[in-house]
């Protein structure tokens, strides 16, 4: 059953990412096409635009939620790719622990940053 739930989570996070990163990609990359529809975002990667966002709690929340969802999807996918070699139970456990530890470290650091930037 455990594997089924991991896979179900992979599907759900996949849909969430498709929507959220879809918006992200359109905002970051399609500025000329948005301009055709009279939408002007004033270069979201510029410093001024970024500090305006990073001082709002809602944006920090969005970044951390997106980080959690993306990290789960990416690292579970990587684990699935590695486990397709059907290693022994012991190796599988090592792989799982390394990936979980890696994910926790990245999540801790990368979610600390938006919180620290709130007051800058």
């Amino acid at each position: 059953m455990r594997y089924t739930y991991l896979w179900l989570m992979q599907l759900v996070t996949g849909v969430l990412i498709a929507v959220l990163l879809g918006i992200h990609m359109v905002m970051q990359h399609l500025e000329d096409i948005l301009g055709f529809f009279r939408v002007n975002l004033n270069d979201p990667a510029s410093w001024q635009s970024m500090i305006e966002r990073s001082r709002q709690v809602i944006w920090a929340g969005i970044y951390i939620a997106l980080l959690a969802v993306v990290l789960y999807h990416a690292l579970n996918g990587l684990r699935n790719v590695i486990l397709e070699l059907t290693p022994s139970v012991r190796t599988e456990r090592v792989v799982t622990r390394v990936i979980v530890a890696f994910g926790i470290i990245i999540f801790a650091w990368a979610s600390y940053v938006p919180i620290a930037l709130l007051s800058r």
Binding site: L21, L30, D32, I33, M50, L78, V81, L85
Partner: protein, 147 residues
């Protein structure tokens, strides 16, 4: 609890890219995997830029942005955009087909035989078409934006 082991992958690493005489979907699967790993690699680089560089202040950030604005990195960005479009839409296809949608209803094998895959292939081709169109949209915007 008894451990249920999956069937052994006798092909080893070769099984990642080759698993017999399969058709189109098999190649889409390989591409799905390659784009997924590519996006994972980009995610790590992206996180380094948006945390280590971002937290050091305006000067470091703007210096990083001038480095990232050269044509080589722009090409990489475009490849990431294409990989994202492919992975998202192919993933959507996989999700819908896992739920039993986008394919014909299975029927008992009684003459005249019919299979549920024909309709599935049609939807697959349609989704490939959408992927190509979206990639062209991104390509247009990269060209107009001065690469």
């Amino acid at each position: 609890m008894r451990q249920i082991r999956p069937r052994q992958n006798y092909l080893g690493v070769g099984g990642w890219v080759w698993a017999g005489n399969y058709k189109l979907e098999r190649y889409l699967y390989i591409l799905h995997r390659v784009t997924g790993l590519g996006i994972l690699l980009f995610l790590l680089v992206h996180l380094i830029v948006t945390t280590f560089f971002r937290i050091q202040g305006q000067e470091v950030w703007e210096k990083a942005m001038t480095v990232l604005n050269n044509p080589l990195f722009k090409t990489g960005e475009f490849l990431v955009a294409v990989a994202f479009v492919y992975h998202a839409l192919n993933g959507l296809r996989l999700l819908l087909q896992e739920l039993g949608l986008l394919m014909a209803k299975p029927i008992p094998p009684i003459y005249p035989y019919s299979d549920s895959l024909r309709k599935k292939r049609l939807w697959t081709m349609a989704i490939i078409g959408i992927i190509i169109i979206l990639c062209l949209v991104f390509f247009y915007d990269f060209i107009v934006g001065g690469w």
